[in-house]
Subunit: 245 residues, 2 copies
DNA sequence: CGATCCCTTGAACGTAGTCAACGCGAGTGG
DNA sequence: CCACTCGCGTTGACTACGTTCAAGGGATCG
């Protein structure tokens, strides 16, 4: 029996065997894009499929960073805490996003599922070895990190300089655009996270988030629908409101 | 704002030969660390040394991103603007930091000098080719981007969840630690940027920055010295104040 | 059916923003 | 050489946006 078959038997989930990377429907979105079949096979050999229910912690800030993850379905939030419990969510990750970058071999943030999610888990040492071997993948990861960095700067602008209304509108537009890029319907927008999560992402309180939704609803810019969906009724107004026009 | 071509003197390979990367005193801090002599020579071949007076724009948000830069001396600020002029400074870069990562071949932010500065300029196409060739350098760049990303998340926590006093203390401590890591004296801290710049970095107004400095001064935690220096009189208090203890 | 969680709404409060004035030092020109 | 301007920092008075504290509704679940 070839060694790679041995490796595959170690995978946690049977679904990984039935759905190898070559057939992965979200590959084009992520770090695995543009790898050739042989490289994909090598990648499949080291990954574990992980399924996590909503509200569970993948890893906590300060944990030793022994794996990189790739979201294949669901939504994951990353956050940091202050000693007194104040929380800042630094990102909501969805299909195709990766997480687990480390500083000093420790995670810099806590990762927790918002909805039940599936992830590919790459043990650090193995993925590092593979990155050495496949510069193509290294470049891809770098380019994704660059995009993350640009998004982080947008978020700083939002946190430091936007009003509550502008923050909420920017947030909804971001979710909408992100859904569109993944081939989901961009309107109404699916908003799976709680008011508390939105507040901690935008630097607000739940009360302010709730009040601002009500304002926008009253102004006829959005309307709330069943199943945590938000219909953007006036897209132009949203764009204007998102930047203070 | 003066036109930057006037202030900027671009020295071609001639000066690069006189001061080759091999003798560069800040190499260990930056992307050029751990390259061998041959690789350094190749790097020196493509770089331009750039000297820029204070208050000049290196490039603006949206410009086509045709170069990567590396700060060798001085301080550079990066910022983004809202249509009505509100500004968020996303970082102050010093010796060893790089800038110029692009999204869609455009810069995502404006880069402007705070003090007169020197930079190494790497034309995009040439540096990309070199990165292909030297995976070592690619990895180094990636690891620096990872650190940037972690710093960005810290900044989001600051912007979203810290009070004015906590922001100012965190800021001064960051400057102090950064100076220490570069072998400069960490106390008193050199603070070359204006109140307006500090405000736009911390999501405050100049008045609040000024008032908070006065408060900290009155409380005996810091004292202001000649030449834009801040003496941290009570380091423990600063650490506590920075996280709301 | 009670307990819990999440969301919403109301009222009062407080932190930081806004508007305004002034001091100070550097640079400029009469 | 002095008067003037200009940019920057500081301080004061007032305001406002978002927070805090509190209450209640609605959905879910044991």
């Amino acid at each position: 029996m070839p060694p790679f078959d041995m490796a595959r038997t170690r995978e946690k989930s049977a679904s990984a065997e039935m759905n190898p990377c070559g057939a992965c429907p979200v590959r084009s979105l992520t770090v695995c894009a543009a790898l050739d079949p042989e490289e994909l096979r090598r990648l499949a050999d080291i990954l574990q499929n992980v399924r996590v229910d909503s509200g569970h912690t993948l890893f906590a800030e300060g944990d030793s960073a022994d794996a990189l993850y790739n979201v294949t379905s669901g939504t994951v939030k990353l956050y940091k805490l202050l000693p007194d419990g104040r929380r800042q969510i630094t990102g909501f990750l969805v299909t195709g996003d990766f997480l687990g970058l480390a500083v000093n071999d420790s995670y810099a943030y806590t990762a927790e599922t918002v909805t039940s999610s599936s992830l590919c888990r790459f043990p650090r040492k193995k993925i590092d070895a593979l990155l050495e071997e496949f510069p193509k993948m290294q470049r891809r990861l770098f380019s994704m990190a660059s995009n993350e960095l640009a998004a982080a700067q947008d978020q700083m602008l939002l946190l430091g300089r936007k009003t509550a209304k502008e923050k909420i509108c920017s947030f909804l537009l971001m979710l909408s655009q992100r859904a569109a890029r993944r081939g989901h319907k961009e309107n109404p927008v699916f908003v799976p996270m709680s008011r508390a999560d939105i507040a901690d992402y935008l630097g607000l309180t739940t009360e302010t988030v709730s009040r601002t939704f009500t304002q926008l609803k009253t102004a006829g810019v959005i309307s709330l629908q069943e199943g945590n969906k938000v219909l953007i009724a006036d897209l132009d107004a949203m764009y204007d409101l998102a930047e203070g026009a």
